[in-house]
């Protein structure tokens, strides 16, 4: 998925901005986990989905527990020429429980889901809604780690299978990419590098790349009169050598009028 994310960020880097080239070196694993604020993560997921369908003609599956009624204005502002046909290429699925999500993902290999074309992008919004007990936060139990591992492994295995199908039938649309978002509940408190969240630690074990969204609360950001400034850090392990971690950084600015702008850092 990193290639689509990279594409998203590089495409939407401020028009007229000086830099638009993407630093090389980032190997291209096809799965990424987006970690950060929940509404901002969803905007990034939607933007990736819309970019995939409108610019690359990919079929996209979008799993989320809560219905998406309207596109966030910031997403619309990034894609002013979006056609309604593009939206139709995204299939939204609304599983309500982890069991429903697992079964829907596990069924993606069935012919009804792979013809005429298999999806090239599978997105799961807000994994914590499925993995962390009701209310989230404190009530961690060991089962959550096992569930997180099962769901991650199933998603990756499914993407690997769909990649084979695409390579056979529509090589131009291969591989099948995977993008999921996860947000720590507020009660969990600030991140402690020594003790990562148990569910996040498991997700990191499976997803080869991670896109972290951090709100920039610095004085400079506030003084610029901008509503929100986010640091977007995309890091991934090389497919063969885990020590070969590379990372790229962007800045995402959301103005008071809702407009969104990516800037390379």
């Amino acid at each position: 998925m990193v290639d689509v994310l990279t594409h998203v960020f590089s495409t939407f880097i401020a028009k007229g901005g000086q830099v638009s080239h993407v630093r090389g070196g980032l190997s291209s694993p096809c799965s990424a986990l987006v970690v950060g604020d929940r509404s901002m993560s969803r905007s990034v997921l939607l933007l990736a989905a819309l970019t995939a369908v409108s610019r690359r003609g990919m079929k996209v599956l979008f799993f989320t527990r809560t219905q998406i009624q309207t596109l966030p204005p910031s997403v619309q502002s990034c894609l002013p020429n979006l056609s309604p046909d593009s939206l139709k290429m995204i299939k939204f699925c609304y599983p309500q429980t982890l069991e429903e999500l697992l079964l829907q993902v596990a069924s993606l290999h069935e012919p009804v889901n792979t013809s005429p074309t298999a999806p090239s992008l599978v997105i799961v919004d807000r994994l914590q809604n499925f993995l962390c007990g009701p209310g989230g936060g404190g009530g961690f139990h060991q089962g959550e780690q096992s569930c997180a591992a099962h769901l991650s492994a199933l998603l990756l295995d499914t993407a690997a299978f769909l990649t084979q199908v695409l390579e056979c039938r529509a090589p131009g649309l291969a591989p099948c990419r995977l993008l999921a978002s996860f947000q720590l509940e507020l009660e969990a408190g600030p991140a402690d590098p020594g003790h990562p969240h148990p569910v996040l630690a498991v997700l990191d074990r499976y997803f080869p790349a991670r896109c972290t969204l951090d709100r920039d609360e610095s004085y400079a950001a506030a003084a610029a009169g901008l509503e929100e400034v986010w640091r977007v850090d995309l890091s991934g392990a090389g497919p063969t050598d885990p020590t070969d971690r590379t990372s790229q950084e962007w800045q995402l600015v959301v103005f008071t009028n809702g407009l969104m702008e990516f800037r390379s850092v």
């Binding site: 290999h109 089962g143 690997a160």
Partner: protein, 139 residues
């Protein structure tokens, strides 16, 4: 399976495959190496392989999954491309304590593949979906 394993383990499976093809048994030095890398899991996994407990299921769509019959007869479904096993040892030793590479079932899959002792079975698309989702498909 996608390589989450250290190179030494990969090489070990390759050596076992090569030697087992020729001699139909695993020499002592490789057994010692296997125990050294995987601990007590190694003996239990070899026992599973001996009992032909590993089956590769495939459905008409082309989807595949491994099914391992545990000592108690319980069935564990494992993926072909990445490491996951629903057993308590995987949850505890591998995920929580991070002090084991594989549980005996996953190691059993690797060994059974290397030794060419995996059973093959065809199942329906819906059957394999249910198994992958973690359900116990009625057989």
């Amino acid at each position: 399976m996608r390589s989450f394993l250290p190179a030494v383990a990969e090489q070990l499976f390759k050596d076992i495959q090569k030697i087992y093809e020729e001699k139909s048994q695993i020499p002592d030095d490789l057994l010692i190496a296997l125990k050294f890398v995987f601990g007590s899991c190694a003996v239990q996994a070899l026992d599973l392989v001996d009992k032909h407990s590993v089956t590769c299921l495939s459905s008409p769509s082309g989807r595949k999954a491994f099914q391992v019959t545990g000592g108690s007869g319980r069935l564990y479904t494992c993926f072909t491309s990445c490491h996951y096993c629903p057993c308590p040892a995987f949850a505890y030793a591998v995920l929580r304590r991070n002090d084991g590479l594989l549980c005996k079932h996953l190691l059993g899959v690797y060994l059974s593949q290397a030794m060419g002792l995996t059973q093959q079975e065809s199942v329906s698309d819906m059957y394999i979906s249910t198994l992958l989702a973690g359900g116990a498909a009625a057989s």
